[in-house]
């Protein structure tokens, strides 16, 4: 029997908020490119680059794809495969590097 759910839904942001998010994305990208040319500890730069990529990913998914505002099940459909993929990639790389060392 079909059960009626009331999907948790908040109203999407307006054009002004979208433009602000767009500006933030451009600023993060500019910082990333700037970091690339800095002579510093490579490990630090790599972690900063990864963190900035993650920030951009979450901003686009959360605000432009509305995962922050739409039903939570859409987010589950998207992030569960992502977590599986990251876990699989890390495990595969660890195994590959230990076997070929």
């Amino acid at each position: 029997m079909a059960t009626e759910h009331v999907a948790a839904h908040k109203e999407h942001p307006g054009p002004r908020q979208y433009v602000i998010i767009g500006v933030i994305l451009v600023v993060i990208t500019a910082i990333e490119v700037g970091l690339f040319y800095i002579q510093a500890t490579p490990a630090l730069i790599v972690w900063l680059l990864l963190a900035s990529s993650l920030a951009k990913f979450l901003l686009v998914a959360g605000f432009f794809m509305h995962l922050r505002f739409d039903d939570r099940r859409f987010a589950i459909l998207f992030f569960v495969p992502l977590l599986i993929m990251v876990a699989l990639a890390v495990a595969l790389m660890a195994m590959f590097f230990s076997l070929t060392r």
């Binding site: 079909a2 059960t3 009626e4 759910h5 009331v6 999907a7 839904h9 109203e11 999407h12 307006g14 054009p15 979208y18 433009v19 998010i21 767009g22 994305l25 451009v26 990208t29 990333e32 490119v33 970091l35 690339f36 040319y37 490579p42 730069i45 790599v46 680059l49 990864l50 900035s52 990529s53 951009k56 990913f57 686009v60 998914a61 605000f63 432009f64 794809m65 739409d70 039903d71 099940r73 859409f74 459909l77 998207f78 569960v80 495969p81 992502l82 599986i84 993929m85 990251v86 699989l88 990639a89 595969l92 790389m93 590959f96």
Partner: protein, 212 residues
Amino acid sequence: MYFDTTVDAHRTSTGLNNRKLLIWAFLGSDVLFFGTLIATHLLYRGRSLVGHTEDIFSIPVTSASTFILLMSSLAMVLALSGIQRGNLQTMRFWIAITAIFGSIFVGFQMFEFHEFVQEGLTPRTNLFGSTFFTMTGFHGAHVAIGVLWLWSIFFASFRWSAGERNSLNVEIVGLYWHFVDIVWVVIFGVVYLVGAYGAEDRILPPVSWFGG
């Protein structure tokens, strides 16, 4: 006026719109697809015995194409905002901008591929070439399909009236487009910037890129 496309006008067993559920399921599967391609590229990093690797990247050029793709995502969400407020003209304008920016991105990628081949890096040169061209090639194909989809929405919209059903059509192509954008965010960050960090020639692109 605001069209909410999360909940289906018709009752479904989930209470969610089936078309929207389908595009999210597709994007979930595409996460696995691109995740595999990126992981494979990372796995073989530093294992090419001949030919160019990350030293061939031109970060200024790729940064410009990344900027274009980010701006196309902004245009896409402004198109959706337009139709959700019942303004078809605004939606058409921003959809066209999104498609044009997407085409420019594809142009950048074709230019990059052409230059890499000129420099001697092809999919058959080494492990780096094989995994790089496969990964970015599939991404470029996704962008190209997205551009065609956007133009089809643009032309179809001349027969539309502002309404929930048409708003959903724009939202679905928008979700696909933003997904293509975030895949590039990961590729640019992990493959280009992290990959090329430490390469000796990273300050400037190869001279041949400017006809030298």
